[in-house]
Assembly symmetry: D3
């Protein structure tokens, strides 16, 4: 059984790779390279896989998941400027690809503490706009 | 080729595990433990996998699928109270997890009669609200 | 300027008019007359009209609206059985028409206390399912 | 006949009223007062009213509308920081209320040049997130 | 009280005005002028206004509306080629503007027979794609 | 990392299998067999899998993907009649199953030229209407 639960956060960012010249940045990222930044309403989907508890009929307690995602993702990213307010993106370019990997890493780091039994973190999906969605699927040996 | 076809039904339920105390039920299920029940508009997605027929260009005849889902799922669950009107949920807690497994079992039981050739039932997805989606993926040896 | 803000709640109900015979109820409401009830995920939209405050750039403080709708609508209706748990629907049939009027009345009753200046309650929209939406538009003299 | 046509743009902003103290700003705008800004994917709907041309069956040529909205709205606002890159918001707080009025004013200023005959600009709707929508309805004498 | 109910149909059409030259048609309608036609999945919303019946709590019986829309709109337009299979569009260009007016006229013609009491047809909304929506609002004296 | 990017096109088609009799076609395809055709607004999702470039933080340059999909899919299919204007469907029935396979084949043929490094075409998803979605998943050895 797999549960996918949806969260939302709004953030601003600017795409600019320090290893590239100003012109290369402009060509590569287009309007996303605007030095003053711009913003998105991200939709984050967290997918969890595991057995259903026979007594309760539940895969996980979604309040535990909400607290985990709230504490380590939403509190930090919602209504934030990713470039200046999230440490990881002072070196990494805050593309949605990097944002998805980063969120997956944050969740993996705390997963076993929050869910010691059974339920595994399987996939992170991050929708940037209606057109682009990024998925970070944990490999079998990463599944915790 | 995989076809995913969408169905909808509305039902009411109450989450209450008979093995837990009143207080434990209240803590675990929160408002969903309300003794008078509450309701949802479920979205059911049925995914079928198989080869495309060369003459017709179709994976399956969707009218056969509609009849199957109508007869063994919608007729029983739509506009019903799951706890009192569906036999399985007189012992099982009618969480969406259990509802998804139960629907998968019902479809598997009749699948080969409805689709003797080729098309296999691969996955059941049940959306409870806009926030939570449950998937029951049949394992390779269950694929019929 | 008009602001429309969206809320959601899930509830169960049964449609049954006490003035009609069992057969008339069955003919009129069809599956919605099921004695065990069924449920929906309602979407409530509250529309407010008024001038924009020059200093703050806001029409209303949405936290005040959230508290009002939370206190007098969601707390009572979310995850409830409308027939047995909402007093008004012990005599009125809990159709979405009546539910929309009832919610409009509840909001009107507290509106001036919550929003003494400027902003008027203009419209209530209640979406029952993806197919049916009901709107209760306050007449000009009802606008408070 | 009324046509409503949808456009999208992404922008970042910070809500901060210069007439209020730091604490008042924080209380009023909450996370939206974050000094580093945050962002949204706005949906802009432009509603036009008028007679249908008998020969062509069209209310307006949507390419003319697209060019107008592109030139005076999207070019300036898409992937921009509203506070620093849009002149009007150096004095006005860039709330969605003010953004909607401002866009309505920009479109009204150019409307008669773009659509000298018949079709009138009737309404601007701006969706900030899935929860909040703002409408600026032109009064009858403003309809141009 | 106003009820808005949603219907869907798929149709193909070609936009070509007989009073214009081939080049003018090409310039005006662009790809929609393709002589082989193209198609859309239309969403039709019918809005009805009136008092709520006290005994039943209903504005109208939606099954009567479904039958009316089914008989005079969907049966004729669903899975049809508008240019060749709908008589009105052998002279009128099948733009969504004309399609909306035509559907409003068809519904008005049968309205009083279907709904002799109270409920009035108020508005027809036709969504052509996610971007364009057309509304035909009946004037007060047309309201039947 | 997997990126899924969405495209839209509108087309008309008629389902008719040359190997079947008129009556068999009518029974099998129902209204979709209408000789004058009908149409849909298709949503195409292209899924790409691969490593994220460390310098740019991107999986692929989406402008390259847009150009590829534009050139070999949208230019040919958007606002077209599939039966008469797409060569492949002069022999194949233009069901969504066949359309999805055909588009997958077109993209695979040009993939290595457009994306010589890393990113692989993994999946094509084609949504015909809100109810039916078809997926063509490339097998491991087809992944290019």
């Amino acid at each position: 059984m797999r549960l996918t639960r949806k969260y939302r956060f709004s953030a601003s960012h600017r795409l600019h790779a320090s290893q590239l010249s100003a012109r290369e940045n402009q060509t590569l990222y287009g309007k996303c390279n605007n030095p003053f930044g711009h913003g998105h309403d991200y939709v984050l989907e967290v997918s969890v896989r595991g057995p259903v508890d026979e007594a309760t009929g539940l895969l996980i307690n979604t309040r535990v998941l909400d607290r985990l995602v709230g504490d380590i993702v939403l509190k930090q990213f919602d209504h934030a400027n990713l470039n200046t307010q999230v440490e990881a993106f002072q070196t990494l370019v805050p593309t949605t690809e990097n944002l998805a990997s980063h969120i997956a890493g944050l969740l993996r780091g705390e997963w076993k503490t929050a869910f010691p039994l059974g339920a595994k973190l399987e996939k992170i999906r991050l929708r940037e706009t209606g057109r682009n969605t990024f998925e970070f699927v944990l490999s079998e040996h990463e599944l915790q």
